[in-house]
């Protein structure tokens, strides 16, 4: 179990780098979907329980995070016709380098945050922090609105990874509520992206800069 957990943690890290260095939106969305899948396997390995609600939750969140949300993003891509981001605010090579620095930072920071659980789970602290930082970075370093939603979802994945691994006593009702909120948020974001595309003929958020002081 331990070896598998470590392997999946490494997969998570690699997927983050894929997101940081990828310019094709479809590939990024695929990476996001795989990440969501890994995300749902990890807690099952960490503290496996046959509680019906745990299984329901895992199935439900896999469905929402790995299928529905990527599908919504794919639909946004198809509707707007934007397939890749050519000129991001921070270039792809530099993004990867910053990603490496962020990973080191997370490894250092997680030393201070000792979780009161086993060592296998301790490994997931830097991984989830790194995922959160990757998401935050994508939010500020990319121009296309879809990429921003992607960043938000990666960030959310990181938070979720931390939650399902460590906050095990969170009742399923709350977890489900969180998932539904995210789903609704992305749904509304998709609608707004569609409107941005129609109004401006593009989804560069640079164009959204009319409001300022």
């Amino acid at each position: 179990m331990q070896a598998l957990t470590e392997l999946l943690a490494i997969v998570m890290i690699l997927l983050n780098f894929r997101l940081l260095g990828g310019s094709r939106l479809k590939a990024c969305i695929q990476a996001l979907a795989i990440q969501a899948l890994v995300l749902n396997i990890l807690p099952v390995l960490a503290n496996f329980s046959r509680d019906p609600w745990v299984i329901t939750l895992v199935i439900g969140s896999t469905l929402i995070k790995a299928v529905l949300l990527p599908a919504l993003l794919m639909q946004a891509i198809n509707k707007t016709g934007v397939t890749n981001e050519v000129k991001p605010i921070i270039g792809y090579t530099r993004s990867l380098l910053i990603g490496a620095a962020m990973l080191a930072l997370c490894a250092l920071a997680s030393r201070a945050l000792k979780v009161p659980f086993s060592d296998a789970e301790q490994l997931l602290v830097p991984v989830s922090l790194f995922t959160i930082l990757t998401g935050a970075f994508l939010l500020v370093a990319r121009r296309k609105a879809i990429n921003q939603v992607l960043g938000f979802l990666v960030l959310e994945n990181g938070v979720y990874l931390f939650g399902v691994t460590f906050a095990v006593s969170e009742p399923w009702l709350v977890q489900m509520g969180v998932l539904l909120d995210v789903l609704a948020a992305v749904f509304i974001m998709g609608i707004i992206i569609y409107h941005i595309n129609r109004e401006f003929g593009d989804i560069d958020i640079d164009r959204l800069s009319n409001l300022k002081d």
Partner: protein, 516 residues
Amino acid sequence: MIWILIALPAICGVLVFLPLIGRLTRTILVGAAAAHLSLVLLIWIARMVDVTPLLATTGLPTGALSIPMEAAGGWLGIDHLSLLVLTISSLLFMGASLYSLGYLGPERKQRIKALTDELHVNNQPDAMFAACLLMFLSATTVVATARHLGILWVAVEATTLATTPLIYFHRNRHSLEAAWKYLLLCSVGIAMALLGNFFLAVATAQGSGGELELLLPELQRHAGSMSPNWLRAAFLLMLVGYGTKMGLAPMHAWLPDAHSEAPSPVSALLSGALLNCAFLAILRMLGVLDAAEMGDFGRKMLVGFGLLSMLWAAAMLIFQTDFKRMLAYSSVEHMGILALGAGIGGIAATGSMFHALNHSLTKAALFLVAGNILARYKTKNIPDVRGLLSTMRGDAVLWIAGILAITGAPPFGLFTSELMILRGIVSDGHWIIAVAFLLALAIAFASMLWTLTRMTWGKVPEGIQLQDSSIRSMFSSSVPAVLLAGVLALGIWTADPVWRVVQAAAAVIGGNGGAQ
């Protein structure tokens, strides 16, 4: 009782989409608002009136008339802090829904042109508007009554989702930009708060052997044995997360855009009701820190963010040329005052609770009046709006009164509450904070008053076509007038029940004192 408060607006929000009932959209909106408000008033009466002698005479068993203040196995409950936030939200919702009766009618004509896209499944634009408003009220009620931090989070995020379509109501580029910024920034902020929730769960696992559910009473009972590091990190994440939603600087970037681009009744609700909800979430977490005897750490953070927000907003107010943005920045400033007051504690915390009430009523009234001005002048540009007193006398008087009230001029309620906060600061000997507090207030006072004089007196500039205010209804001016009268009343003489609830609410967050 709590279930009815939550379910009533939610059910009405679904009802307005039904084809036949949909015609009654406005009736449903106002009806739900009135029912919600009267239920909240019922809770007040239940709190204030002792029914035991009445029961004795009628022969009913004791407790026959009592209203249960808890629901869902302790996940929801009404304490005094809840009651205060709930009352503010409910009152403002009543006002905003009455106001939007006049506001919605004629604007519909303009909107029909823009309504060719498929976003609206229903061809009644009012239905979407009313549904979002009602969902917002429902989510707000959950926020106010939540005792489980997880549910609290879900509800705060739900308020974001319900208000985003409202901000994009006008369907132009500006409101699109505002809605996008609002949804994205607040969602990311709130995700941080979720991480804070999880950190808190880890913190509880430290001493007690197992993790606790994030129920407030549970958390407070076991706070002593939590891991201090995780608890501190949890508070910081929640402060940043919910602080984004509350509009504390430097996380306030979405606020001026959203508040200036939303339709005026929505702006009133955003400023008056929504920001308080986020503040409530921070206060709940502060309660946990208090129980762990780490309240000082949390309070210092609140003071820091509070002062920064006040000074930042004051600086932005100086050269403001858009009167709705001016009101929005004033909201940032007042959120700073609330955070500062809660951070100082003691009488300042009581002042902070009182200030929340005063600010909400005043700011809502101001946004509604701003809506009237906007409809008449068709511009938000301050230099283009002149001669209010000659063109719309009634609204001009309300505008003057509102601006005076919001800048803390006596005899309005905000003067009293700001004075209480100042007394709290000074009596603790924080002279530097007192100077910064007064400086920010003075800058805001001067710049808003300067704007006020430019707008009210003088002649209408050439080239500005005054529109016939066809959106006016009997509520356009009377609702803000009533709200402002309330603030005036709070300043002159605070009714005893109101005062008791304010004090009890402050006691929840460790405040005390404050004679009437």
